[in-house]
């Protein structure tokens, strides 16, 4: 299923640009904020670890890092047409999608989930349920978000804009006001997983573990299947159009 050559090319492509530095910025902000808050001793009872790692970490840092990484494993290649060289070989399209998805998910886990863990450890002062829960939720989110964003990269050339609209409008704005939207929100899946271990009401998780895992798995599978279908039908425009 996984193709080593595709993975190697993808990694080279992702880290070959200066843009790779940007991966590290949002997680860095999260850690700095956590350290600053810890040092400034905010009032107890404010439940700030849950707020910061939930409302900020899972709502902003995780999806945005996943967006930057998920759209760069495939988006640029499709945009400038160099994907043709990959597709003009007998490599299975599903293999291409799954390999790129895996690379993106692993990178996001490294650049977002691990910093979340570090921040959670700092915030809660130790490796307790909170930190483990946050880490698990972030791992789940890394996977589901990337499946979604890889699919969006194949479906449209404006993947970043669509991804931003989803994160900013659907998840943050609607998710806070329309309860039905929470069922279709990757943030809620991640929070659901996190909360099942951490049991912290400040995380504002709306779904239980079973719902989160089932919906998350469904979204991931559907996204990857759609992406594979679309990639199999990849078209080059002729010069007449």
């Amino acid at each position: 299923m996984l193709n080593r050559t595709v993975a190697a090319i993808t990694l080279r492509a992702v880290f070959g640009r200066r843009r790779a530095i940007v991966f590290g910025l949002p997680p860095l902000v999260l850690i700095l904020v956590t350290v600053a808050l810890k040092a400034s001793h905010p009032p107890s009872g404010s439940g700030w670890p849950g707020h910061v790692l939930g409302d900020f970490g899972f709502s902003v840092i995780l999806p945005l890092t996943a967006l930057i990484i998920g759209t760069s494993v495939l988006g640029a290649e499709i945009d400038d047409g160099s994907i043709v060289h990959l597709l003009a070989t007998p490599v299975r399209r599903s293999s291409v999608i799954v390999t790129k998805f895996t690379v993106a998910a692993l990178l996001t886990m490294a650049f977002a989930a691990v910093p979340e863990l570090i921040a959670a450890l700092i915030a809660s002062g130790g490796a307790g349920r909170f930190a483990i829960g946050v880490f698990a939720g972030a791992l789940a989110g890394s996977m589901i978000y990337n499946a979604l964003f890889v699919m969006v990269s194949v479906l449209t050339t404006r993947a970043i804009a669509v991804g931003l609209l989803y994160v900013l409008v659907w998840e943050v704005v609607l998710g806070n006001f329309v309860s039905g939207a929470r069922l279709l929100s990757v943030e809620q899946y991640s929070l659901g997983v996190a909360n099942s271990i951490a049991r912290d009401s400040n995380l504002n998780a709306a779904l239980n573990l079973r719902t989160a895992v089932i919906m998350g798995a469904i979204v991931t599978v559907i996204a990857l299947v759609l992406a594979t279908r679309r990639l199999s039908e990849f078209s080059l425009k002729g010069d007449a159009v």
């Binding site: 193709n3 080593r4 050559t5 595709v6 190697a8 090319i9 080279r12 492509a13 070959g16 400038d80 047409g81 160099s82 043709v84 060289h85 990959l86 597709l87 003009a88 070989t89 007998p90 490599v91 299975r92 399209r93 199999s232 039908e233 990849f234 078209s235 080059l236 425009k237 002729g238 010069d239 007449a240 159009v241």
Partner: protein, 304 residues
């Protein structure tokens, strides 16, 4: 010999724009040129054959199997696309090597070496592609398309950006490959190269197949247009007045370069000209066809 590429009533449209209009053609081994002005649909036809566009109507097969949504076809087909988009961050050797591995070749390193040697890029293979000139990029793309020893090779405007020496080298290469029995299809609007290279041409104008076959034979098929000759003699005016009396001739014109003769019947004219000049004591110095080149064939086809 089985036909490698077969199109039957293939059409492709985008909304209201018909890019390829009811094209039927069969392409066999050897070098075939796909000719046409810009925007005629040559790239579209190539992408259809390469499996990167589905036909809106009609059937298209390569080696007996359709190319759309069929990645296995790339085991025997190599594509050199026109767009100047390669993995610029890889070196030439890495790019061809990666392609070899994606083709699951038994000996990727050997195949890479061979392919790079064929296109004469061994000196630059360890430099990043972003440092290559346009001609070098074309050649490395050809190497990647050849690495798996395909029986069918599709090239979209392969001579773009090449200097004359590189062009000659590429033409040599393509001739050799064609002589080995492979099916080579190249698209171009640079007529001189295709003239020298391709035995058969397929002419696409405005999405339609305007002509196919040997280009000289095509030319002759168009007897409705007069053939034009340029004659230089000792007495052009006298010859002109004599020729206009012949039924094979539709017009004469005295130009600075000689006597331009329009002949409606090529065969009859070429039989008559010697007799007419001898009978009148005119010395025939030079007789040239003015419009045998592909360019004039083209121009006629486009005008019609």
């Amino acid at each position: 010999m089985s036909t490698a590429i077969e199109l039957q009533n293939v059409s492709r449209w985008y909304g209201n724009v018909v890019a390829v209009n009811d094209v039927t053609m069969m392409i066999g081994p050897g070098v075939t040129g796909l000719l046409g002005p810009n925007g005629a649909g040559k790239s579209t036809v190539l992408h259809l054959i390469a499996g990167f566009l589905p036909p809106s109507r009609g059937t298209l097969t390569v080696g007996g199997k359709p190319s759309w949504r069929n990645p296995d076809i790339y085991k025997t087909v190599g594509l050199v696309p026109e767009r100047d988009s390669v993995y610029a961050f890889l070196t030439g050797a890495e790019f061809v090597g990666a392609t070899a591995r994606l083709h699951k070749l038994a000996d990727p390193e050997g195949a890479t070496r061979r392919a790079i040697g064929i296109v004469d890029m061994a000196a630059a293979q360890d430099r990043r592609i972003s440092t290559y000139s346009k001609g070098m990029r074309q050649r490395i793309k050809v190497a990647a398309a050849l690495v798996h020893d395909p029986t069918v090779l599709l090239l979209d405007e392969p001579f773009n950006g090449m200097d004359p020496r590189q062009r000659l080298h590429m033409m040599d290469l393509l001739t050799r490959l064609g002589a080995e029995g492979r099916t080579i299809l190249l698209s171009s609007h640079i007529l001189e190269e295709v003239e020298r290279l391709a035995g058969t041409i397929q002419v696409i104008v405005s999405g339609r197949l305007a002509a196919s076959g040997d280009f000289r034979a095509i030319r002759r098929l168009m007897t409705s247009r007069p053939h034009v000759f340029l004659v230089r003699t000792s007495d052009d005016r006298l010859l002109g007045s004599a020729l206009i009396g012949s039924s094979a001739v539709t017009g004469v014109e005295l130009t600075g370069r000689g006597l331009q003769v329009r002949a409606s019947d090529y065969g009859a004219f070429s039989r008559e000209i010697a007799g007419v000049t001898r009978d009148r004591g005119i010395r025939l110095r030079e007789l040239l066809p003015e419009d045998e080149s592909l360019e004039s064939v083209f121009a006629y086809l486009i005008e019609s």
